[in-house]
């Protein structure tokens, strides 16, 4: 994966720095009540929150689509109040809603976006081929955009956001309504992009997505940041862990495991929730004693969901 020449040793500023950010919409609705947030350069950062919590408002302010009521936003050290054009040059935005012309071709959309950033045509064409190719859209470059599937439209917005090779890419629910195969291919693409040096901020309602991709996380609710830590530290707050077991034979009766909760999933699988300190050997011994043959086992990966719900409910 090729990205911009991002490395600038002299530049130690965070990719995004927000201080006391406030937004009150006309009519008095307070969407942001004083947000402080730092996202380090090179991070893969999750910004989570329930609907209406203030995620899109925050992203809107950073990208100039929403006017802030108060506070400060810096992108790689550049205050948006002082030099928004220069700050914008570092930003790529993949919005929640489809927002390209439905009457233009895939290639036109991407090349026009490059033009708005002042990128000369020849270079724009090279980059368009690269990013549309990486996202599986090069063969559809002459297609009118309204004929694309939902997943292709989402990928087109990612290609468009990358055409000026931003150092900070903000994705607002990029995989909403996308099937699992395309979602996973987008995860691989974003992971590679991040490894190549692009800072990524992701909002999503698929908490499994955030858990798999992001290193740091902030949870926003009712216009306030209620949690801001590393993914590892946040998940460490869970005292229990859940495992899914797939059995060789049909389960006639659920096994009783000491100090564990066993939840049936279907005819051949169940979930066991145990204390994080407990040895799995004991669990396997008890399952063997119960005459159950395990074919496979996996960690349940939506642990974040439990924490998320806990934090949001505590904030109500």
């Amino acid at each position: 994966m090729t990205t911009a020449a991002h490395a600038n040793p002299a530049d130690a500023a965070p990719a995004l720095s927000i201080r006391d950010l406030r937004k009150t919409y006309r009519g008095g609705r307070e969407a942001l009540r004083g947000i402080d947030l730092d996202v380090a350069a090179g991070d893969f950062f999750a910004l989570l929150g329930p609907n209406g919590a203030g995620k899109s408002t925050t992203i809107g302010i950073i990208s100039s689509l929403v006017r802030k009521s108060a506070g400060q936003v810096r992108v790689f050290g550049i205050d948006i109040d002082e030099d928004f054009p220069r700050a914008k040059a570092h930003l790529g935005l993949v919005p929640q809603e489809i927002n390209f012309s439905q009457f233009e071709s895939v290639l036109e959309i991407v090349l026009n976006q490059a033009g708005y950033y002042g990128i000369p045509r020849r270079l724009a064409e090279e980059r368009a081929e690269r990013y549309l190719g990486q996202l599986g859209l090069w063969a559809r470059r002459d297609e009118i955009s309204r004929n694309l599937s939902g997943g292709m439209k989402r990928r087109l917005m990612i290609a468009r956001a990358l055409i000026h090779e931003p150092r900070l890419l903000i994705l607002d629910e990029p995989t909403a309504g996308v099937d699992i195969e395309i979602r996973r291919s987008m995860w691989r693409f974003l992971t590679a992009l991040n490894q190549a040096g692009t800072t990524i901020i992701l909002t999503t309602h698929y908490l499994e997505e955030a858990e798999q991709l992001c290193r740091n996380i902030a949870i926003i609710d009712d216009g306030r940041i209620i949690e801001n830590t590393s993914m590892r530290a946040l998940l460490g707050k869970l005292h229990t862990e859940a495992f899914i077991f797939d059995c060789e034979d049909r389960i006639e009766r659920l096994p009783a495991i000491e100090d564990a909760q066993v939840v049936p999933l279907d005819d051949h699988s169940f979930e066991i929730i145990i204390d994080r300190d407990r040895s799995l050997n004991e669990v396997f011994a008890e399952l063997s004693a119960a005459g159950i043959t395990i074919r496979s086992m996996r960690n349940r990966s939506n642990r974040l969901e439990e924490l998320f719900m806990r934090l949001v409910e505590a904030n109500d």
């Binding site: 689509l65 914008k88 040059a89 033009g115 950033y117 000369p120």
Partner: protein, 269 residues
């Protein structure tokens, strides 16, 4: 942070980048209305042909000469100007409102494009359509009457300035518009009546008072007459006065458009 770092390996001056951004907006606008030429270029040619047939061929001979020219010759510049005004206005109002409605105006808003450049790009698109339609209607007019050009400089200047003025008007309309109905109200209830009363079909010298004085309040009268001077060499309005009015409106509407863009009216919440 250097400009180079902001654009990866690409080092370009702001002026170069702004020029690319401006040409991108203009070419996008050109492509938009040329792609749908059956809706944008052809209808004015047909409509204006009907004006020439009805008012020039059928009714004109009964009216007789006006200002020393046949009626067909006299109304031809006004009809061409009417097409220019309508098309410059409708190009910008429909394009900019469409971009707002489909949210793809956000593509430009998130990019480092100054507001003046956004305005200039859309206005230039409107001017291009005004000029193309004006040229086409002029060709149509030559099938009905012999049109000479009295002053190329005046003709060209009036076409470009008038297209600019009405492109700005369309832009302001699009900024305020919230639904598709809003982009047809001004053309229907303001633009069309003012055009018909703007001396397209008659000389205001034929009007009695107070209608003659009231006509002088209509800005379109100045454009139609300045254009008629460019084509025929006759005008009800002194040329410097006509240019002063057109330029005055352009300055006021430009400043107002920029003010709306800076405030983000209808664009930013």
């Amino acid at each position: 942070m250097t400009e180079r770092a902001a654009y990866g390996t690409l080092a370009r001056t702001r002026r170069q980048r702004y020029l690319t951004a401006f040409t991108t907006i203009v070419i996008k606008e050109l492509n938009r209305f040329l792609r749908i030429w059956v809706q944008t270029i052809l209808p004015p040619a047909i409509t204006m042909s009907l004006y020439f047939v009805i008012f020039g061929n059928l009714i004109g001979p009964r009216i007789g000469p006006m200002a020393g020219f046949s009626y067909m010759e006299y109304i031809a510049p006004g009809i061409i100007m009417m097409a220019i005004i309508t098309n410059a206005y409708s190009n910008v109002v429909s394009s900019f409102f469409g971009a707002k409605f489909q949210h793809h105006i956000e593509e430009i808003l998130v990019a480092p494009v100054p507001h003046a450049l956004i305005l200039a790009g859309y206005v230039c698109g409107g001017v291009c359509r005004g000029v193309i339609v004006g040229a086409l209607v002029t060709v149509v007019a030559t099938f009905f009457t012999d049109l000479g050009i009295h002053s190329y400089a005046v003709t060209l200047a009036v076409v470009i300035l008038t297209s600019t003025l009405f492109s700005l008007g369309g832009f302001i309309n699009a900024m305020y518009a919230r639904k598709f109905d809003d982009i047809s109200i001004v053309p229907t209830f303001v633009l069309t009546p003012l055009t018909y009363l703007g001396g397209v079909f008659y000389s205001i010298e034929l009007l009695g008072e107070p209608w003659r004085q009231l006509s002088l309040l209509n800005p379109i009268l100045y454009m139609v007459n300045a254009f008629r001077f460019g084509i025929l060499g006759v005008s009800d309005i002194a040329l410097p006065e006509a240019f002063a009015v057109i330029l005055g409106f352009i300055i006021v509407l430009s400043m107002f458009s920029l003010h709306l863009l800076n405030r983000g009216v209808g664009l930013r919440s």
